[in-house]
Symmetry: C2
Subunit: 250 residues, 2 copies
């Protein structure tokens, strides 16, 4: 599969992501740019891969919002992660035969499928890239731990505040937010599925957050007028995101 060439080197989301940890050599950058990648556009609310699949490739989110989720025996959905540009939400399938979760789009998405063979070769030849990819799966795990803590031990108000803080910081890190404003094409029902709350309750709390002046929304756009108070409300401390070399205005 030929790779669709991207405008310039720094716009490759994988390079951008890895460079947030350390500087890549030209050789390493070249190896990434030469990865075979099948680029596909996907409509909203479509599954990219399904629980039980044994994919032979992983998907890199090039644009849009996706989510990782599981469905309960009773048919209830738990979203365990929101995936944004640069994320490789099923990188785990490189080492685990069977997917234990599904991944679906929330908004229109562009994703790049990269064969496992190519990734394995990349890792063998470039140990630093292998480490960086390992690291990125460890950051994902850190986010899981934080979400678990939110869902298990924080009340709805701070749970939502926390998630909004996280999304804003992560989107800033990939330049998909301008300061305290970002586009967040996530419905209240989807927030509920991520936070273990009902849609109705999410709605109630959103109104409280607005009334308290912590957030403002306009369509899918979120603005945070009082970043400090939102962080307090959510007990948000970004260190679990393990961001390094970030150029935050936040």
């Amino acid at each position: 599969m030929a790779s669709t060439s991207l405008p310039d080197i720094h716009s490759h989301p994988m390079i951008r992501k890895l460079e947030s940890v350390f500087t890549l050599s030209d050789d390493e950058k070249g190896a990434i740019l030469n990865l075979p990648m099948q680029v596909v556009d996907i409509r909203p609310d479509q599954d990219i891969v399904r629980e039980g699949d044994s994919p032979s490739r992983s998907c890199l989110v090039l644009d849009g919002f996706a989510c990782t989720y599981k469905i309960t025996g009773e048919g209830r959905r738990q979203i365990v992660a929101f995936n944004i540009v640069g994320d490789i939400p099923d990188l785990q399938s490189l080492h685990l035969r069977m997917l234990d979760n599904s991944i679906g789009t929330l908004s229109p998405c562009t994703v790049g499928f990269i064969p496992h063979d190519a990734l394995r070769t990349l890792c063998e030849r470039h140990p630093r890239i292998a480490s960086a990819l390992w690291r990125s799966t460890l950051v994902d795990a850190a986010i899981f731990r934080e979400w678990m803590t939110s869902i298990g031990r924080r009340e709805a108000y701070s749970r939502i505040a926390h998630l909004l803080c996280e999304m804003l910081v992560r989107l800033n890190a990939v330049e998909k937010a301008e300061g305290h404003t970002c586009d967040l094409p996530i419905t209240q029902a989807e927030f509920g599925d991520a936070l273990g709350l009902s849609t109705v309750h999410v709605n109630r709390i959103f109104q409280d957050l607005r009334a308290d002046g912590l957030i403002r929304t306009k369509g899918t756009q979120l603005t945070v007028p009082d970043w400090d108070r939102l962080q307090e409300a959510g007990e948000f401390d970004r260190s679990y995101l393990h961001l390094e070399r970030q150029n935050f205005r936040l």
Copy 2:
């Protein structure tokens, strides 16, 4: 630091764990056996490492039960993982500068501290071991996802049933259970902290599970008289544990 030599090759928990995925060469086994390891006994309810630490070594659980946890701003505890023999609960610190969680003992524990240097060298020289360690952090993440789903979307009864199934399967995998019986030195308060429930409610549900004939307890010992029904009650499907080559009686 000299390694305390262990009885025989197969009793090294790390070898046993890695061999559950693929067969190690003698060379690989030797490298693991030669890892420098400081062996320490730790009393119950002691922290092994704390959130915010930047350790230069990782700890391998050699015996006993430990847990990974976070404390909320309001001082509430969320246990995000139970650690048993063979687990390396802070392996992540090999690639992430700062720990985003604490790890503490539940029962008396023996742990082995292995310097990061030694682990990094091991990974460089033995790529298959590196992959296996990466894999094991991915399995940990899969367990996080499953717990999140339980906490977010399952009611208390099936949440507890699910966790008991998981512990029994994991303990069987490391030969720390005999069929449907195992020693589980975890208090009801600790179960509560792991499941996002109050101690009182955990107690009530345990009584329901006993009354329904799904479990029996005697001190810290758990017996599951009806494995099928317990699995149903917890919607338990072990595939997320990604066990391979297991010799289950279960």
